[in-house]
Amino acid sequence: MPSLIANSDKVNDFVVKFANVNGTGSASANSLIMKAIFRMGVPVTGKNYFPSNIQGLPTWYEIRVTHNGYAARATQVDIMVAMNAETYSRDVRELGSGGHLIYDSTWPRSSLLQRSDINVIGVPLARLMNENFDGVRNRILLKNIAYAGVLAALIDVDLDVVNSLLGESYGRKPKLLDSNTRALRLGYDYVKQHLSCPLPLRVERSDKTRGHIMIDGNTAAGLGCVYAGATVGAWYPITPSTSLMDAFKGFCERYRVDPQSGRHSYAVLQAEDELAAVGMVIGASWNGARAFTPTSGPGISLMNEFVGLAYYAEVPCVIFDVQRVGPSTGMPTRTQQADIMLCAYASHGDTRHVLLFPANPEECFYMAVQAFDAAERLQTPVFVLSDLDIGMNDWMCPDLKWDDAYRPDRGKVLSQLELAGLEKFYRYVDRDDDAIPYRTLPGMSPKGAYFTRGSGHNQYGTYTEDSAEYQVVLDRLKRKFINAPKYLPRPVMIGKGTNEVGIVSLGSCDGAIREALDILGRQKITMDYLRVKAFPFNTDVENFLRSHATIFVVEQNRDAQLKSLLTLETAVEKSKLNSILSYSGLPISAQPIVDAIRAKLAEAPRLSAVPH
């Protein structure tokens, strides 16, 4: 075997990338390895770069083994498992110097040898499968498990852990379990016999994953909806939000089916389009159910008219926007944060909406619950702006926790008794001087009946074209929006707060920024970091903007939408804000943030963030 090109030991800190063809069953092999590393107590993140296609196109999966627990995508690849002949040349190029290339040596690949600064590891995977298994499809599927075995041997993943994972997956299908176990072993043994193991890049048991889980944001959000007590979910399938409703439905089948009667305490309505989906949510919420819809950018575009109705008629509704790359159809399987402005001001006329920005799957769970509370308290649409990276990738998160004392905030819904105590009920009168009116649910009594309309109405709920009456309602809606932050999560602040330089960001940029702060910290560059969790912004945001001389706004879109929103909705001077933008469709990583900050600070050396 060729001697290894010298590289420093990278224990529990390296990146493995798998290049596959989609539809060949590679996903389960890749997550098998990731889960095994996680079970060995070593933090990992998984990023899936997949095509908008069912079968036959290139797909990549990246596992970052990270003892520091970084959540962001790494920029360097240390091990490339190159299983797709079509993308070989590109995959080989992507490998960092000193990296390792694993390929199927059943067929000669002379082009692989063009780079002299990498280690090439050939394993005749197809031949091994052909010699040991029957059936073309079977051999293709098992080849994935075989390379998982190869990798396990090379990076020292405990085979017992992998085997127990296989047992959990195929426990009820002994034949499948047997073939998978054999395939795993074939790959593993081949490497043990022919190569010296493990590589300097390897996994060493640790205890950093205790109390943690691996979960994607859509699953966590779907679970959050179940815990929040949502009973109606309406949706139209759209990548990358589909798995949110799949999760909701799956958890409902587990927790919400009466064992005796078989009746479902939930209803999932697959609508004909997103217009209908949000219409159903509005109808159900108006009628007293907690209802939600998951969608993505194109769906939000379609929902605009109804969102305006819900805003003006003051009907709660919860909309999850799992953002993907736009404009238009864009790149449906790539990530971005480019719907911020769309959601903040959705629909015609004067409208502004409450937005929540989860940064990871854990927050998707909690914010799902908060979204329903806020929507019902404020009687308005609430958008939860997740993205594909959070929604569809597996993240390591602390165990989700639940307080059984929690009760939903259903907002100002009059009970039968309260209604009876009123002389007369008026839908839009600001009785409590908090800009939030009372509502009633259909079916209570004629006294509580009112007419909901998107046309001009006065505070008594009746139709109006009178300017003054119209403005009374519109002005109250504005006050309600301005008061909203007290019902919304506050931003997260990291740092002493006294630095001259600050970072403001949101959502899934968080992992990359935390990592960038560590890198900068090692270079003796310190700054404060504020992550907004909700819009409208509260005073913490305003204070942070005021107290920092130079502010970097990090976000994943081309047009600096968070920066735009900050300039429009706070008193910040525009010139203080410097954008760091990532809109390639791949999740943002730390190094470009570090580079951009260093470059900017070099222009202005007086700033205290720069070491003297």
């Binding site: 994953t209 889980i213 679970l223 179940v226 815990y227 929040a228 007590g229 009973t231 109606v232 309406a234 958890f251 927790y255 919400r256 009466d258 078989g262 009746r263 305490s265 939930y266 209803a267 999932v268 309505l269 609508a271 004909e272 217009l275 209908a276 989906a277 219409g279 159903m280 509005i282 109808g283 159900a284 919420s285 108006w286 009628n287 007293g288 159910a289 209802a291 008219e305 109804f306 165990d399 989700l400 639940w402 307080d403 059984d404 929690y406 009760r407 939903p408 009633t440 649910l441 259909p442 209570m444 009594s445 004629p446 509580g448 009946a449 009112y450 007419f451 909901t452 309309r453 139709y463």
Partner: protein
């Protein structure tokens, strides 16, 4: 619109229903539609139907989209919640509302523009979803609020007030509903209250989506010579094929019909519809035959009215298919909905 405000106090001699309510207590705010509008007659029929059903006003939910017809939900049963939504999207609001609370009676009022143009997709899918509601289309072939453009139900050759002649084929809601598998399809005429009231009552009691297409002439923009949706033309060309009487539960069928002439259809709540066939060859339970019959009559410019199709044996009603409990979803206590801490702790093991 008419400007005569009715007195608020009802005369003590007005008849009351079983709830002790007079018809006046099923009225809504004053109509702002043009005097003589067909829609106001439909509103009167809805009021009569609800009063006759002894329906508690708060048990009704009124939904509509945008347009002249959609305004009318404000003009009946003031004691019911109403939702005047956006153009062509009433059906989705109704679907969601019905999913949340199956215990109420839902009536959606729409028009031909609202349901056959901008909202045809929502109508189609509400039928497919078989939402338990009465879906009433007040059909006048014209856009009134925007001053008289043709709608998708305008017949070929019909003339607009300003002289344009329509060349595009109409979408007939009855044929559409029949092809989509609707389990209750009827047509009537705003001017025929005797026919319309029992149809509305039966439609409200039908367990699934009941569609009633009501020819409801527009006096301002479509009531002239050359229009096929005018009062005169409709009166001349409507043809009752089958009459329906609605008999509430526990009420004896008092009317005596000649044997062979009348069919009784039992409804799920114990009420009945008595069908009297005016055309001996017509079978309203045979969907395909109904379609052929209606279509052949339409070709002869005849609007067949009455209860065109009914299928009370159907089991595709939304809640039935979705296996929701008898109690409304919006009334299930939170404790039964949220799985709680122990379940979550146990679930975490699946994610390691």
């Amino acid at each position: 619109m008419s400007y005569i405000n009715k007195p608020k106090v009802a005369h003590p001699s007005l008849p009351t229903n079983k709830l002790g309510l007079t018809r006046r207590q099923y009225e809504g705010s004053m109509s702002t539609l043009c005097a003589g509008c067909g829609h106001d007659s439909v509103t009167a029929s809805i009021i009569e139907a609800c009063w006759g059903l002894d329906l508690k006003p708060e048990q009704l939910v009124k939904l509509s989209g945008i347009g002249c017809s959609s305004k009318t939900t404000a003009y009946f049963v003031a004691g019911a919640h109403g939702f005047n939504s956006v153009h062509g999207r009433m059906a989705s609001i109704a679907s969601g509302a019905n999913a949340a609370n199956r215990g109420l009676t839902y009536i959606g009022v729409s028009g031909d523009g609202d349901s056959l143009s901008i909202g045809v997709g929502q109508l189609v899918h509400a039928i497919r979803r078989n939402v338990n509601m009465l879906y009433l289309i007040e059909n006048n072939g014209v856009y009134g609020l925007t001053k008289g453009q043709f709608s998708a139900s305008a017949d070929i050759g019909t003339k607009a007030k300003r002289g344009d002649v329509n060349v595009s084929p109409p979408i007939d809601p009855v044929l559409l509903a029949l092809t989509l598998g609707a389990t209750f399809v009827a047509r009537s005429f705003s001017g025929d209250k005797a026919q319309l009231v029992p149809l509305i009552q039966a439609g409200m009691r039908h367990n699934g989506l009941a569609l009633i297409d009501v020819l409801s002439p527009c006096v301002t923009f479509n009531d002239h010579e050359g229009s096929t949706k005018s009062y005169a033309f409709t009166r001349e060309h409507y043809h009752a094929a089958i009459e329906a009487d609605f008999v509430p539960p526990a009420e004896e069928i008092a009317v005596d019909y000649a044997a062979g002439e009348t069919t009784r259809v039992g409804m799920h709540d114990g009420s009945s519809v008595l069908l009297r066939k005016l055309d001996p060859d017509y079978d309203p339970t045979d969907r395909s035959a109904a379609y052929r019959y209606i279509e052949s009559k339409l070709r002869q410019n005849e609007y067949v009215t009455g209860l065109i199709h009914i299928d009370e044996n159907d089991t595709t009603e939304f809640h039935k298919l979705n296996r929701t409990p008898d109690e409304p979803l919006n009334g299930i206590p939170f404790e039964k909905l949220s799985p709680g801490r122990a379940a979550l702790d146990a679930l975490m093991g699946k994610f390691r």
